[in-house]
Symmetry: C2
Subunit: 144 residues, 2 copies
Amino acid sequence: MRDTKTAVQEIRAFNRFYTDIIGLLDAHLLDSEYSLSEVRTLYEIHIGKSVQASQIMTAMHIDKSYLSRLLKKLEKDGLICKTPSEEDARATLISLTGKGLKVFKTLNKASDEQINELISNLPVRKQEELVNHMKSIMDILQHK
Amino acid sequence: MRDTKTAVQEIRAFNRFYTDIIGLLDAHLLDSEYSLSEVRTLYEIHIGKSVQASQIMTAMHIDKSYLSRLLKKLEKDGLICKTPSEEDARATLISLTGKGLKVFKTLNKASDEQINELISNLPVRKQEELVNHMKSIMDILQHK
DNA sequence: AATAAATAGTGGACTTTGTCCACCATTTAT
DNA sequence: ATAAATGGTGGACAAAGTCCACTATTTATT
């Protein structure tokens, strides 16, 4: 392994840098009617097709009661539907409704555009900084 | 510019991936007596040596009233001191006290160790995933 | 010089996000 | 048959952060 100090410093610098970028994206996304966690929940249901609450919970690293409430809102808005699992009467299976899929796709598209705009507007200086950070980290990982 | 769809998708995939990693780090750091924002505030004061509240605010993208409260706590704990600015009577200059520097260094070291541990324990699969994400993004930026 | 507008910061009230805990129902293990 | 684990809900609460109104200066405008 190469010099640990440098590697760690580099990763922390990248974290600060990238946390900032993600923060900006997240902030922009907040105009929507749905919170970040709600959108993320829709995403998890979307890719899982038909999932249990506990699976979403694990994927998102959130508390089950919080998830329960997120799901409640999404259900109230008619974006998801719950059906009792046939194998396990404790569990309910969650899936997107037609409306849910539509809303998800809309939000997703908005997010794509956001990112696209970010890429287009990223000043060259920031781009170079990002690339340099990434190079260092790749270097660290490949030599560890 | 290359295929936009792919580029945007790739960046979003990386965001999800890296948000997860950062989340883990942040969660681990929470054992400390100080919150993430408080530590970040100490960091900003540390690198700025002697700064105004408004500078920290801009760097951290947080509300001024929230920062005011963060500073109040740090001051109460004797980690920072405020002195009225001589050029501008509206402003106060903020700097770390001896104790503040000591605490910051301790927290900083803990954070370093955290990252170090993360690197050491990152499964090869995750490492490769990270490197692949980064390669794609660098590729995107360099061809845009 | 007088006043309008901008800048720096504080504190009250509030919202959002998320956790902890107690609880019910069902299922699996002993 | 019963203990323990799993899946989920809801109450109470904590943490993080925003919005707004206010004070005190400072800078710009007439």
